[in-house]
């Protein structure tokens, strides 16, 4: 008798598991953000099992492109818009309008009709500066890109590799747009002299600065502010010339069997609940939520962001990366 009960229980559990739908989400969102964001999704949809492939922007982008004949991902969440534009051009995305899609600001979503991707937040360049190290070496606080090429910072700067990191790419893209291509590459050459290593992930330069392994890490605002909260001697500086920035955006992957749960997820991902979570981390979100700007960001974040030509960035991404690799890749740490 006991055995029958156990067997039934096992069957029920298995059945329940089988009924639980599963989606695979490719994302470049930060590891410490995902659990927080997912809390509200899990509350609303406990029966949907979400599996993640999380890595730096370049890696996830390359992976999705490589899988184009046999796409594994159901949904792209929080990936650089530049990458999404590449996917769109390659025909990898399925247009889908999430429930709250109309709320998203026009400049933060795909220009097509219907829009294929929807932005959820903007992330921008910020320097993570270790104040203790700065003092030890008697160095002034860098306040702009121009400061970073000063000879006194030689070997003190780290930066993400734009091929793997979205942060790295948006910074390089910003420099090229701010200074024009010729002066931009000349600047990057001089910057390269001050760089001790290029990291794979966008957060790492900040983390290195946090432990004193580096003095200045070119990274993004959220990371620096988080580390300061954790007690590290990090000051987040937004460059005077303006910060490069990119949108993190969502899209539905085009494949033979599109799951309804994928659409449910995308609906949630631009819902007000989700947007409020994003607003805790970022100054600029897909649409305003009324949440106060997190501490540490400039009071008017949009003024800090440069005028960004996404089309140009998307079209020239491969060429920019090839040129960058040719010039500087010798200093790159192993990419994943």
């Amino acid at each position: 008798m006991k055995r029958i009960v156990l067997a039934l229980a096992a069957v029920l559990i298995l059945a329940a598991n089988a009924l639980a739908a599963e989606i695979l989400v490719y994302t470049a969102l930060e590891d410490d953000q995902i659990p927080r964001y997912m809390k509200s999704f899990k509350e609303k949809h406990p029966d949907i099992d979400v599996k993640f492939v999380r890595d730096s922007t370049g890696i996830v982008t390359a992976r999705l492109l490589a899988e184009k004949d046999n796409p594994q991902a159901d949904v792209v969440w929080g990936l650089s818009a530049v990458s999404l534009m590449q996917f769109k051009a390659a025909g990898l995305l399925e247009p889908y309008t999430p429930a709250d899609g109309g709320k998203v600001l026009a400049s933060f979503k795909d220009a097509g009709t219907p829009p294929v991707w929807y932005g959820i937040d903007a992330w921008m360049t910020g320097f993570c500066v270790n104040t203790v190290e700065l003092k030890n070496r008697n160095l002034p606080l860098p306040e702009s890109f121009a400061d970073l090429i000063k000879p006194e910072y030689k070997g003190q700067v780290t930066m993400p590799n734009p091929a793997s990191s979205g942060t790295g790419f948006l910074t390089v893209s910003a420099i090229l747009q701010l200074m024009g291509e010729e002066k931009g590459w000349a600047y990057l050459d001089k910057l390269n002299d001050n760089i001790s290593s290029y990291t794979h992930s966008g957060s790492k330069p900040c983390k290195l600065a946090g432990t004193g392994e580096s003095t200045i890490g070119i990274s993004f605002g959220y990371r620096g502010l988080q580390q300061k909260k954790k007690g590290e001697p990090i000051e987040t500086v937004f460059p005077k010339e303006g910060s490069g920035w990119d949108l993190e955006a969502n899209a539905l992957v085009k494949k033979a069997a599109i799951k309804p749960e994928a659409k449910t997820f995308l609906d949630w991902a631009v819902s007000p609940e989700a947007m409020q979570e994003y607003a805790q981390s970022f100054a600029v979100t897909g649409y305003p939520t009324g949440t106060p700007i997190p501490e540490g960001y400039p009071a008017e974040p949009t003024k800090q962001m440069i005028k960004n030509d996404f089309d140009w960035a998307a079209k020239n991404r491969d060429a920019i990366l090839a040129e960058w690799t040719k010039r500087y890749d010798g200093k790159s740490e192993p990419k994943k």
Binding site: D31, D32, R54, G58, K207, G210, T211, G231, P334
Partner: protein
């Protein structure tokens, strides 16, 4: 002779076996072993080699990829870098390992058990940990670099900091030396142990001085062990991935190149190409090592008298000091690793905290990954032990079928020549392909279902560590009386009954050793699984790599500490089981 006409005697004896006879069964199993090894070793390798001859879109380009590789100075520099690292590591690890092994086997120093155990400790950790710990010791904010955070300069007024320029070849070489030291020591202690005392007595009676004896008797006696240690250290440091990833800095090596190509740029063709480039020196070293091994076996004299330990007080004191120094360095190393995982904000807030052990905010999968790793290690231990011991039994104890046995033996040794990265890479290609192109015909792949499963991870571990386990099993089986199977056959007892009732129990110490070896290595390995893990199967060692990537070095150290802790625990459990076993078998073990 007699006048009877004898019935015609057949020229060729007509051996009639019943269809399901034991002999057929054994031959069939042996064939199965050969086929299985062919499937998991030869075919994937072949695919890897093939892939390097095609470009990204599937067109055959012959050696174009290789030409592109060597033409690109950045890429081909990696080959030189890998060689340089491997040579330096070997030059450091082998003498250190030799001296340590000498201390353990030839002198009368106390605490040998402790020294040996400690020397084996580096094997419990992923090679990533060495890099991470070195950062905490020699990085910009490392203990040594800062003179213990300026403690020395503050209290003693001297600048005791010492910046060794960690990131780059220095860091890699130190890490690899730590990694290969235990292996060199192990090989050399076996070699030093199996020498004949009578050679020494003869030399001494002829009036040879101790240095002369050392060079004319000791060294030649272990020359094959030395060669083997050299090759092993070379291969391991040439192909390692973990250490260069963490402390390599700008210094590119082949292992990290493969990684960049495959995962970073999804350029499988180039990844395969670099994999092949990695393979060739390894293969060469492997063949030379095999040659040395064969000669070594011939040296072992059956009636050799073991050497009594050295009695000279000075020598003993010297070796004790040396071994203690090494032990101290290892303890400092392990201690730093532990410290790194416990310090709140290194180097600014030195209070201790367990917060780095909370992996919730981190990438890599946290404790789920650790659980997966334990499961994977456990399965690898169980299945790997069964596979290696079973096939060693079939190869060693089957009469006849010598072609099959030799093929099986050769294939069983082949994994020694395959770096973990090459296995991982070959397996991605082989198991991910949805179909096979065989002579122009497209067949659905019978193994595709394994991709992304725990099964594939376990398989890669079993294959990666196959040869050492196989050799251990073979050695143990060789100690058994050769006629057990004949006795069993003459009494019409099926061979598998004897296998279970006699062979396994008598070889149980070796079986436990194999299982333990597999477990510990499967926990710590990263080079094969880094290509094969999937989204729902995170692994602890990969998590360490991911966290380090993201700059979360302290949690990476914490996860490594967890890996080491699990391995030590399992080791202790195995040790207890082995001790209990040896007590029980005291009665029947030959004294």
């Amino acid at each position: 002779m007699t006048g009877h006409a004898a019935p015609p005697v057949p020229d060729q004896s007509d051996w009639r076996e019943p269809l399901f006879s034991e002999r057929r069964l054994r031959a069939l199993l042996l064939l199965g072993v050969v086929l299985w090894l062919g499937l998991v070793v030869v075919l994937p390798l072949g695919q890897l080699l093939a892939k390097s001859l095609y470009d990204g879109s599937g067109t055959f380009v012959g050696l174009a990829n290789f030409r592109a590789y060597f033409a690109n100075p950045a890429l081909s520099r990696s080959l030189a870098n890998s060689l340089r690292v491997a040579l330096w590591t070997t030059a450091l690890a082998v003498p250190l390992g030799f001296a340590f092994a000498y201390g353990l086997t030839r002198t009368a120093i106390p605490g040998k058990g402790f020294f040996r155990g400690l020397a084996m400790a580096p094997l419990f950790a992923p090679t990533l940990l060495y890099g991470i710990t070195l950062i905490y010791l020699f990085g910009r904010k490392g203990l040594v670099t800062t003179g213990f955070f300026g403690f020395a300069s503050r209290t003693l007024g001297i600048d005791a900091g010492w910046d060794i320029g960690l990131y780059g070849p220095v860091g890699i070489i130190i890490s690899e030396t730590i990694f290969t030291f235990p292996q060199a020591m192990l090989i050399l202690s076996i070699a030093l142990r199996t020498t004949d005392a009578r050679l020494y007595e003869a030399a001494r009676s002829l009036g040879a001085s101790p240095p002369r004896i050392f060079f004319t008797v000791t060294l030649p006696g272990v020359k094959y062990g030395l060669l083997s240690a050299v090759f092993v250290c070379f291969i391991l440091s040439f192909t390692d991935f973990g250490a260069p990833k963490v402390v390599g800095g700008q210094y590119n090596v082949l292992a990290t190149d493969i990684y960049k190509q495959v995962i970073g740029q999804q350029n499988f063709a180039m990844g395969a190409t670099v994999g092949v480039v990695l393979l060739f020196p390894t293969l060469l070293a492997f063949f030379l090592d095999r040659l040395a091994q064969r000669r070594q076996a011939a040296l072992i004299v059956a009636r050799a008298v073991p050497l009594p330990p050295c009695e000279t007080a000075l020598v003993n004191r010297l070796y004790f000091a040396f071994c203690s120094l090494i032990a101290l360095l290892l303890l400092i190393f392990l201690g730093t690793a532990l410290l790194a995982s416990l310090v709140r904000v290194w180097p600014y807030d030195l209070s201790l905290s367990l917060r780095h052990f909370r992996f919730g905010d981190m990438g890599g999968g946290g404790y789920a990954a650790l659980g997966n790793s334990v499961a994977m290690a456990g399965l690898s231990a169980i299945l790997g032990t069964a596979a290696t011991f079973g096939s060693a039994y079939l190869v060693e104890k089957t009469r006849g079928a010598s072609a099959l046995r030799q093929t099986a033996y050769f294939l069983s040794m082949a994994p020694l020549a395959l770096p973990g990265m090459v296995i991982g890479l070959a397996y991605i290609f082989f198991f991910n392909a949805p179909a096979w192109q065989v002579a122009g015909v497209r067949l659905p792949s019978p193994v595709h279902w394994l991709y992304g499963t725990m099964g594939l991870l376990v398989l890669s571990n079993v294959v990666h560590f196959y040869s050492v386990c196989f050799l251990t099993a073979t050695t143990a089986l060789k100690q058994l009386d050769k006629e057990f199977e004949a006795v069993s056959e003459s009494m019409a007892v099926p061979f598998y009954r004897t296998f279970w009732r006699v062979t396994v129990p008598v070889c149980l110490p070796a079986v436990l050793e194999i299982a333990q070896f597999l477990f510990v290595n499967a926990m710590a390995t990263v080079s094969a699984v880094i290509f094969l893990y999937s989204a729902d199967l995170p692994l602890a060692s990969v998590a360490v790599a991911n966290m380090d990537d993201a700059g979360d070095t302290a949690p990476a150290a914490a996860m490594s500490v967890c890996i080491v802790a699990v391995s030590i625990l399992v080791r202790l459990l195995f040790g207890a089981a082995a001790a209990r076993l040896s007590r029980r078998s005291q009665r029947w073990m030959a004294p």
